[in-house]
Symmetry: C2
Subunit: 211 residues, 2 copies
């Protein structure tokens, strides 16, 4: 296995992709600190100086990973959501897109959610930036559709709670992969749209057919 001498010559862009993929994999498994540049270079099938030549320091590499994965995820959600619809439909499509992305791309999700948020450095900035975009998206959805005089703070905190519920449920889902994405998404939709109060009485929210 360790018999590979020199790696095959490849154009820079291709190598950079390989390295990033390896980095996301290793960071997701080991976390930022425990991950070593040696291991990343090994997984990428390349030697360490290449890593430094192409992607800079360990911190830069990590930040680049976060940026890439965050962008991929936000694009997936943006693509999935349907604007100019009723609030509940918008929320529903957003949730579906989110859980769809997490279902594939488990490693990406680990890096984004677990690792990035626990490092205090410049990473949290990148991450919180994305998270803030998600939160204000939901907050806007809430504000525009509510009739009650909700304050900015109120909408924001509710949105934070909802986003957190999504994150947490995604984590839970990682341990129960037998459930399909749609089911999990629908469950969260029911919780945040109907509330326990209604669920207890047997009133549920129905997604597709009507409309």
């Amino acid at each position: 296995m360790r018999t590979e001498g020199r790696a095959k010559r490849l154009p820079r862009a291709v190598r950079e992709r390989q390295i990033m993929d390896a980095a996301v994999d290793v960071f997701s498994r080991l976390g930022f600190h425990s991950a070593s540049m040696d291991e990343i270079s090994e997984v990428a099938g390349i030697s360490k100086p290449m890593l430094y030549a192409y992607l800079g320091s360990k911190e830069e590499l990590f930040a680049t990973c976060i940026r890439r994965e965050a962008t991929r995820m936000m694009e997936a959600i943006a693509t999935g959501v349907e604007p100019d619809q009723e609030p509940d439909v918008q929320l529903w499509s957003g949730l579906r897109a989110f859980f769809g992305f997490v279902g594939e791309n488990r490693a990406s999700w680990m890096v984004l959610h677990r690792q990035a948020s626990s490092q205090g450095g410049p990473f949290a900035v990148e991450l919180m930036d994305m998270r803030a975009r998600a939160v204000s998206l939901v907050a806007a959805l809430l504000t525009q559709s509510t009739k009650a005089p909700a304050t900015k703070l109120e909408a924001e905190s509710l949105a934070a709670a909802l986003v957190g519920a999504g994150e947490s449920l995604a984590d839970w889902w990682l341990d129960h992969p037998e459930e399909p994405a749609g089911v999990v998404a629908a469950r969260l939709m029911n919780l945040v749209w109907m509330g326990f109060g209604d669920l207890v009485d047997g009133n549920v929210w129905h997604p597709p057919s009507r409309r």
Copy 2:
């Protein structure tokens, strides 16, 4: 400042408490990996070998911190909750106790939520254990009070979502400390009990007076 020579002689139990307090403080600020035993010993006003003599290795120390803080927190919640009440009242009192604990004990919360969950090792076990207890508490509450034939998996995932929402909102709260605990708790209560659907229509849940 660095002029202290020898520390005053104290009984072991007292020193252990001091060390634990220092450890929670440092771990919460720096995270597990970045925290050094040197700094912990410094903050505790003691030298490194004492640390090893009393609390063992770094990992043992961290695990002990988690266990202590988790226990403190679960006790706080258990004390605050009111059994033999309507489901919504039980949930409400649980939420109040939770946010009350986080309000004081910020450091404890950081260690528990951010640090412990991001380390894959034996720590996650400790933590997930406590989290599982919280989740099944909520799941039981849900199951016993619902009329719909909710599956075990369904109740569990909803509970996970709720717990996650609480955690996330607690994190958000750390950045907006101006809000009192009760307000934040009430907001989450509204979200999970009434749901956005009702909130949008201006129907809110009222906590105390009636009953």
